[in-house]
Amino acid sequence: MAKRKTAKRAGKAGSAVRKSARAALSVATSARRTVKQRVAAMAEAPLAVVESDKDLQAMLGVLRNRDEPIKVRLAALQSLGAAAFSVIAFESCRGDYLATLRQVADDPDPELRQRVLGILMREKDGFAQKKLLDGLKNPAKALVPPAKALQLLSYDVHAEAYAAARAILAKPPNDDARREALRLLAADATAAPLFEKLLRDKKELREIRQIAASALHALNPEKLQQRAREIILDKSDYDDIKATSLMALATFGDDEALGKDKALLNSVSRFGAGKAPAKYKQGARRFLRKFGR
């Protein structure tokens, strides 16, 4: 196939760059070169991809070909992804690119699968969404671990993933999956009570309570402010969640009300003078300075 007109129109200035890009692509797609040479050449190839159908097809061919070294295929994916940023120039490549991504979504290599499904989910691709949901329902069909599937599904708030996330939460296969299920449910308008409970639960992991605070901030900000205040007043709660709570009050609270809250200011003073790590105490002092203390 002939080169597109874009390249023809380019002036002398651009033609040297384009020539160099085509040469790099030729190296990148040549099985006769070493893996190292090919991976290095991929970095110069995005321009060739968007300007020549032939070069695009050669690059997609490398990505598709399971006999190619995986390092080269991953580099081809990165190069195509970089080319995709040239949205207007990439318009003519998009159909072939998406079709190829769907083809390799079930590749034997887990890293490639994961990256490809990520790109597709960020396109809100129905094909990828269905694969991920099917995998959560039937682990034998799963293309990625449950935690990764949930993370990728969270790119589309309209993905029908809440039920799957709740099922994972009820019986989490590991901590990662539980955490990602909670992060996904942080967009579920009905989940505020769940996050309020988690935030108040001193037996919970610090990371989970931090996620709960952030989720509650979105779903019921007033409730977070109340609970954050309680946590700071509670002498028995942990320093790290107190620091998160203090940050919620400092960043999003009602300064006028906070400035009049003597009990809170006294608790923050104690926190700042106590045995908490230095950066938490600095945060407390910054908070107090805001209110002239």
Binding site: R9, G11, A13, G14, A16, V17, A21, V39, A40, A43, E44, P46, V50, A75, Q78, S79, G81, A82, A83, A84, F85, S86, V87, I88, A89, E91, R115, G118, I119, R122, E123, A147, Q151, S154, Y155, V157, D176, R179, E180, R183, A186, A187, Q210, I211, A213, S214, H217, A218, P221, I241, A243, T244, M247, A248, A250, T251, F252, K279, Y280, Q282
Partner: protein, 407 residues
């Protein structure tokens, strides 16, 4: 005797910020009591706090800068112009850490605090600079409800052709970053957008205290003291970012700064940097930042693009490409799409919707600056080339990079 010092030719205290580019200033006597003559010679100097910024002066629009300038100032209240600029290599770290003083002999007759506000390498910010920046950014995001939502909505599928894959790529993003930076400065005027120099190791950026540390899955984790822990976009919590490189090193495969600037001396060649290093910097990660329509969901996007803009600025300086009237400064072509020609106004700041433009224009006009007038509320492509006002002083946009001098 008292004098008033106006920075950026305004008494507005919010305008007391300078960069490497000369800021027009003026001095006038407001209280002549004690003046020895109708005209007094006043010496203007800058006094830097420890570790603070430094400024230099000159009396006219041209000529060399010096650490002080002495001006004859009438005691009748008439203003006398002078220029102040940040001393290259010595930016501020805190607001007001330089004081511009006016003395009559040894007597201090007036002073104002200023800041040499410069975009810096994010990897080398002080703790204070870093903390102020993340606090302002978190507030701008405010659970996905803050002004940041507009910036997110400016860079989605439907609007990408306004900004990518065509000559307007660099000017559009220059305006985009400036708009965001001005909104951050409305929250905390001491903040300047830092850059991620992606051709160098930047381990201090990828920490829980700054832009977060990614776990193996690519979920970014923040320290309890970092307000970015409350980051939300599109109604979804947090940031997904999986570095495909060791964050103690630079990502492999990206053109270095020297290689990027050497792509070519003409803009049509230089703008191919949209693929490498720009595109490759994006695809050095898995996660939101990897794809055009989701990239601004990750706040790191803005540091990445700040470096892209910095590279353009350095290329412009090296090749003298600030003047839109010079063909090599841009890639003009009769078949460029609307928004990619020098005289075109840019979406969304122009408010134009429908047809070849997106259906809505989030965010309204470009945020105004108390310091400078450019690029105006509805910037054109050509308004975004001469960011330092090298060709025409009124074109200066009010930002500078720590390693890109004024001409």
């Amino acid at each position: 005797m008292d004098v008033e010092l106006q920075i950026n030719n305004t008494p507005n205290p919010k305008a007391r910020f300078v960069s490497w580019v000369p800021s027009p200033c003026r001095i006038r006597v407001t209280n002549p009591l004690g003046a020895p003559a109708p005209i007094v010679n006043l010496k203007i100097t800058g006094v830097s706090a420890a570790g603070g910024g430094a400024v230099v002066f000159r009396g006219g629009a041209t000529g060399a800068f010096a650490s002080s300038v002495t001006l004859p100032v009438p005691t009748n209240g008439t203003s006398v112009p002078f220029f102040v600029a940040g001393k290259f290599g010595q930016p501020s770290t805190n607001n007001g850490d330089v004081t511009i003083q006016a003395r009559n002999g040894t007597t201090l007759v007036g002073s104002v605090p200023v800041m040499v506000r410069i975009r810096k390498n994010a990897n080398t910010l002080t703790t204070g600079e870093r903390n102020r920046f993340v606090a302002a950014f978190a507030q701008l995001n405010n659970q996905g409800l803050g002004r940041f939502a507009d910036f997110r909505n400016m860079h989605v599928s439907v609007s990408l052709p306004q900004a990518h894959g065509a000559p307007g790529f660099l000017p559009w993003h220059r305006a985009y970053l400036l708009d965001l930076e001005r909104e951050l400065q409305a929250i905390d005027p001491s903040v300047a957008l830092p850059y991620w120099r992606f051709d160098q190791p930047a381990p201090n950026i990828f920490t829980p205290d700054f832009f977060g540390a990614s776990n193996a899955l690519g979920t970014v984790q923040f320290a309890a003291t970092n307000p970015l822990q409350f980051w939300k976009t599109d109604g979804v919590q947090g940031v997904n970012r999986r570095p495909l490189f060791n964050t103690a090193t630079a990502p492999p495969g990206l053109r270095t700064e020297a290689q990027t600037i050497a792509i070519g001396t003409q803009f049509p060649a230089f703008r191919t940097m949209e693929g490498n290093p720009h595109g490759f910097a994006h695809t050095s990660f898995g996660g939101s930042i990897q794809d055009p329509a989701t990239a601004p969901k990750d706040p790191l996007f803005f540091l990445l693009h700040c470096n892209v803009d910095r590279l353009w600025a350095k290329w412009q300086r090296q090749n003298g490409r600030f003047n839109p009237a010079v063909a090599a400064s841009y890639d003009s072509n009769p078949n460029n799409r609307p928004g990619h020609n020098l005289p075109d106004t840019m979406w969304p700041w122009n408010g134009v919707t429908g047809g070849t433009r997106p259906p809505t224009a989030p965010g309204g006009a470009m945020a105004a600056s108390p310091c400078v007038g450019a690029p105006g509320p509805q910037p054109r492509v050509q308004d975004c080339l001469d960011y330092q006002g090298a060709i025409g002083a009124p074109a200066r946009m009010g930002f500078d990079y720590d390693d890109a001098k004024f001409i």
